[in-house]
C-alpha cells in the first residue's frame, strides 16, 4: 500500500501502472509505459520506475524525467527490480539512494512495488 492509495502493480506486457484498493477497484496511475520491471514510491509525489531506463514519473500522470538511461555500449541494456535503502548511521551521508539492476531477462507480466 502506498499512502493509502492501494496496491500498485504494473502490466509489463500491455503497459501502465495501476492501483487496486481493498474492494478490488482498479484505478490507472500511468496508462502507457510498457515493460515496467520495478517501482519505488518517491517522496516527491511520484514513482521511480525501471525498464528500458530509470525514470521518475509524477502522480497523477504528468511529467516524466529520466534518471538514468541505458547504455548498450557498456552492456547496460535495461533495468529490472529496484529498491531503496534507509538513512542509517553506518551509511551516514547517503539517506535513500535507489538501487537498480541491469536487466537480463523477461520477468512475468506484473510486479508488486
Amino acid at each position: 500500500m502506498a499512502g493509502g492509495a492501494g496496491l500498485l502493480y504494473s502490466d509489463v506486457l500491455n503497459g501502465g501502472v495501476f492501483s487496486v484498493d481493498r474492494q478490488g477497484n482498479v484505478t490507472t496511475v500511468f496508462a502507457y509505459r510498457k515493460g515496467i520491471r520495478g517501482m519505488s514510491v518517491d517522496k516527491n509525489a511520484g514513482l521511480i520506475v525501471s525498464g528500458r531506463n530509470i525514470s521518475w514519473k509524477s502522480v497523477p500522470e504528468g511529467e516524466t524525467i529520466t534518471v538514468l538511461e541505458k547504455n548498450e555500449v557498456t552492456g547496460l541494456i535495461g533495468f529490472n527490480d529496484i529498491t531503496t535503502d534507509e538513512a542509517v548511521a553506518f551509511m551516514q551521508a547517503l539517506c535513500v539512494p535507489v538501487l537498480f539492476l541491469k536487466m537480463a531477462g523477461n520477468p512475468g507480466p506484473a510486479t508488486c512495488t
Binding site: 500500500m1 496496491l7 502493480y9 487496486v20 519505488s40 514510491v41 518517491d42 517522496k43 516527491n44 521511480i48 530509470i54 521518475w56 511529467e63 524525467i65 534518471v67 538514468l68 529490472n80 527490480d81 529496484i82 529498491t83 531503496t84 535503502d85 534507509e86 538513512a87 542509517v88 553506518f90 551509511m91 551516514q92 547517503l94 539517506c95 535513500v96 539512494p97 535507489v98 538501487l99 537498480f100 539492476l101 541491469k102 536487466m103 537480463a104 531477462g105 520477468p107 512475468g108 507480466p109 506484473a110 510486479t111 508488486c112 512495488t113
Partner: protein
Amino acid sequence: MYLIELDGSARKVAFDIQLTNGLAFSPDGRTLYHSDSARDHINCYSVTADDSLGEKQLFAETEIGSPDGLVVSEDGRVWVALPGGSGVGVYHPNGRFDQLIEIPEPMCTSVCFGGDDLKDLYIVSGSRGSESDRAGAVYVQRVDVAGLAVPLARVSVSA
C-alpha cells in the same frame, strides 16, 4: 548491480550476475539479499560503511523454481517469489528453508507486504506456463509477521 546516489549519480556495486531480480535489505540494513534467477541463487552482500557491497555470498539455492522478487519481514526472514515453484519460499535469516506459501499458478513472479500492519502478503503471478484465467493475478494472504517498510525514494531528479 548499481546504486543511484541521492544526487542522481550512479555506480556499479556488484558484478557477476546472470539474471538479476528481486532485492531487499535485512532489518538492520547491513545485508542486501538479491535473486540471481539464472543460477537459482539467492545471494547476500554485506553493506559497508562507505555504501559499497562486500563479497557476494550464497544465502540459499532454490530447489523448486527460480528466485524472483523478494522481500524481508521484521523477523529477518526472506520471502522469495519462485517462478516455476508455484509460490513464495520463506527462508530463515541463516538461509534455512522455512516454508512454501503456495498459489494455484506455477509462475509466481513477485511478492510484497502491505496493509495497515504490513501483514498482508501480496503475491503476483505471471502468465507463462499457464492457460488459466487466473494467470497474471494478484493474491493476498495474511501472515503472522509484518514485512519491513520500504523507504521512499529520494533521488534527485531534474528535467
